[in-house]
Amino acid sequence: MKWFEYGDETISDKELLIAVPSTIIGVGILSLPREIAKNTVSADGWLSIFIVGVLFIGFAWIIAKLASTYPHQSFFSYASSLVTRPIATVLTILLALQGFVLTAFVMRVISDIAKEYLFDQTPVEVIALSFLLVVVYAIAGSRAGLFRLNMMFFPIIIFITVLVGGFAVAWFSVDNYLPVFKTDLSGHLKAMQTSSFSFTGLAILLFYTSIVRKPKKAPKMAAIGMAIVPVLYIFIYLLCLGVFGNLATANLNYPIIELAKEIEVPGGFFERFDSIFFVIWIMSIFNTTAMSLDVTVFALESISKLKKIQLLYILAPLIYLVGMFPQDLITVVQLGEFVSYYGVLITIFATVLLVIMSVIKRRRSNV
């Protein structure tokens, strides 16, 4: 029923803007303050996040610019025109793999955290399965619907973060930010390295820019959307640091959840704000998972003859298996590291390759 002006399968630029932070903000930030606090002195880590953030904003702009120079063309079609069909196929598969592993990893992490904070006996398998089923249900719907979901959940996520921040004021100590700028370069570099892993997910821009109604606006929107991420990260990071100080932050598994646990809402209906916070954060993680799985499906759709639903039937059990494969926490962490390294590298690689080819092509056609 594509008779109405906002028919399905196309998205507005606003929706693209929200989709970027929705995809990127997920499980990464839950442990990010710890990873950064480990490598930096007092609260210096914000600088690392800031620098990485700025780099990624530029990166997001480049990706969206690249994709929008071929308006309304799918990734596969413009990639084929730039770097021959077989290479484009390989690229698509590699990028799809990233979404695939990311989905599996995020699903596993969310189940582990849920088991720790909400459950005691319930097996991880059940927690993961019920989560994955909801994700699959979302993807079985329309693609535009998925973007609308982002729009609906994102404000809630921001709201809960700000709420936690507001309540945390009573536990806040400015002394925790002192001294400033004492971290050496290697500490910053390490912090930047770890924080860049919390920015995985930009690959969606390579694919979804093709269904944006006004592709010309896409680069700007992608950059603005990307800018939300470091802002939120720095906010959460400074919040944790201000309340816990550097040492405690570095030793808490999920500082932001512990922060929610620390605060006590006066006269509240609920105690243990950590449960509320985590439950709402599930929406954010759902967004990440749904977007990365959908981009996988979207990518594979373009190179195979299978339909969306068929692909979903094939992928979902595989994701579940991959996610359930790690037996212990260490393997999960290793999987996470692999996902992050791989995700960032493949996205950079694909983008750089295509941008170079695109520049060369344009030179040639100008001559």
Binding site: M1, W3, F4, E5, Y6, G7, S12, K14, E15, A114, L118, F119, T122, V126, I127, S130, F131, V134, Y137, A138, G141, S142, G145, L146, F147, R148, L149, N150, M151, M152, F153, G268, F269, F270, E271, R272, S275, I276, V279, I280, I282, M283, F286
Partner: protein, 517 residues
């Protein structure tokens, strides 16, 4: 998608045996004509055939007693014809001409049709018209003498307001159209008529303001209405279920109302209104989740109060859907989240209750639904008693018998009260339905189950459409400009734009300049 599959299900088959009678042309012989009318209707005793002579011409007036207005027939038809007969003016004229003269000059009625098929004749006869038959002509005159008993305009029962017009739609289509016209005196207010029901042949009118409504919406509704194939549409609910986008959804995709002011407001926003003859409930569409929380009173009261009421309703919707589920999740899974003192007192009151919280909640929830249903079915005076008996006696007895805990009674009562504050009955029912889903999810996975179910419902909503308009608009796709009338209700002079999500052709509802002087 779903609607179309219904359309496919019923292929158009030939109708029953006397179909051929309907499509046949009339005879020139008056006796044959009258005979076939009688035969088709199986000569019921309310069929009146008054034969008389007009000069040397045999004529007859046929009508159904009770459907037509006898006085009109006497005053405006028979008396006039008698005068003609006395004057003997028309004797020489040939017959087709005579009919034309009678049509144009002699019968003083506002609406007369000259037809030649049995089909049209029957439709008119059965809807209260009378038929003038003249011997020797294969055409008849259909006289509009409709006059049947109608309910007078009363205050709408299902949607009562403290402030607002007291008149409601009635069963009569014409009256309803009049009520709409009285609200909007715009020449662009158009009514497109459809005929619904293979047997009932009911009139259905789609009202819209051309120049505001998006033409595609109109095209789509007409397409869907034409696809309706049913014997009878007893109520607008039939129409609603034929034309809605997804019949699997718990959410109503078409709004209904008894209030002309609400219908008119919908029209000016760029929606269409479907009026079906025989029911006071008109349909308004496209509708979105935001409309669920709107009541005409929000606009009649000042904006602060209107906004407050809106917020209250969002809260009520939240309570209706989540409160019992949260109770289950907190009491059975996450006891740490309940403030300590409250946790201890809940534990104290639950001591001795034999059921887990879920069973307790379902038990009370079902009881509440039973009471509500019983109260709705019974006559008003008894209905109230049921409410008191049920609420007080059962609740009190259940607590002292130790079947449920007092906190549970509070939860259920609060939920019930909250669900009654939702202005749309059909939506309130959906929310109550969803409540049980949440309860089930909470019983299995606690808060985690609740949030997953919430996500699932959101997934459903974003994929749902009402005549092409996303059901989740204007939340997502986000139309920030429409948020002035969503959770907030900004002052009336500032509500200058029609809702953007309906993509009206003319978006300006008013001008900020010169509005308030």
């Amino acid at each position: 998608m779903a609607a179309r599959s219904i359309f496919k299900r019923k292929s158009k088959k030939g109708i029953s045996a006397n179909d051929e009678n309907f499509s046949r042309y009339l005879d020139a012989n008056i006796d044959d004509n009258l005979e076939s009318i009688k035969e088709m209707l199986d000569s019921p005793n309310d069929l009146v055939m008054r034969r008389f002579h007009l000069g040397e011409h045999k004529c007859a007036i046929v009508y159904i007693d009770g459907l037509s207005d006898k006085a009109t027939i006497e005053e405006n038809v028979l008396k006039n014809l008698e005068i003609i007969e006395r004057n003997k003016k028309l004797t020489s004229t040939d017959k087709p001409n005579l009919l034309a003269i009678i049509h144009e000059e002699l019968i003083s009625l506002t609406s007369i049709q000259n037809v030649n098929t049995m089909d049209e004749l029957m439709l008119s006869l059965l809807s209260g018209g009378s038929v003038f038959v003249l011997d020797g002509v294969d055409r008849v005159l259909l006289l509009d003498t409709k006059m049947w008993e109608n309910r007078s305009i009363e205050e709408p029962v299902s949607e009562s307001l403290i402030r607002g017009p007291r008149e409601g739609f009635v069963e009569n289509l014409r009256t309803n159209m009049v009520l709409l016209r009285r609200q909007i005196r715009d020449p662009n207010l158009h009514f497109k008529t459809h005929e619904i029901g293979r047997r009932s042949k009911k009139k259905l009118v789609v009202a819209y303001i051309s120049g505001i409504i998006h033409p595609d919406i109109l095209k789509e509704v007409n397409r869907r209405l034409e696809a309706i194939d049913t014997d009878d549409a007893l109520e607008s609910g039939f129409i609603e279920q034929w034309i809605e986008d997804s019949f699997l959804s718990p959410f109503p995709q078409v709004d209904n109302t008894e209030r002309p002011d609400k219908a008119a407001a919908g029209l000016t926003q760029g929606k269409f209104v479907i009026i079906l003859d025989g029911t006071p409930f008109v349909l308004i569409a496209p509708t979105t989740i935001g409309n669920t929380f709107q009541s005409p009173e929000d606009y009649y009261e000042r904006w602060l109060i209107g906004t407050l009421l809106r917020c209250l309703r969002y809260l009520a919707a939240f309570i209706t859907m989540f409160l019992p589920a949260l109770y289950i999740a907190l009491v059975s899974f996450h006891q740490g989240m309940i403030p300590s003192q409250l946790a201890f007192s809940i534990a104290a009151t639950r001591e001795g209750v034999p059921f887990p919280a879920f069973v307790e909640a379902v038990l009370m929830g079902v009881t509440m639904e039973l009471l509500r249903e019983a109260g709705a079915r019974l006559p008003k005076t008894i209905g109230q008693t049921i409410g008191i008996v049920g609420g007080l006696v059962i609740g009190e007895a259940a607590v002292s018998a130790g079947v449920v805990s007092p906190i549970m009674v509070i939860v259920v009562a609060l939920t019930a009260v909250a669900s009654f504050t939702l202005p749309l009955y059909s939506v309130a029912i959906s929310f109550r339905l969803i409540r049980f889903t949440f309860m089930l999810a909470a019983a299995f996975l606690g808060l985690y189950g609740i949030v997953l179910t919430y996500i699932m419902i959101n997934i459903h909503i974003v994929n749902l459409k009402s005549f092409g308009v996303p059901y989740s608009a204007p939340f997502a796709p986000t139309f920030f400009r429409d948020w002035d009338d969503l959770i907030l209700r900004v002052p009336i002079p500032m509500l200058t734009k029609r809702p953007e999500y309906l993509q009206p052709t003319d978006s300006k509802a008013g001008d900020k300049e010169g509005k308030r002087v």
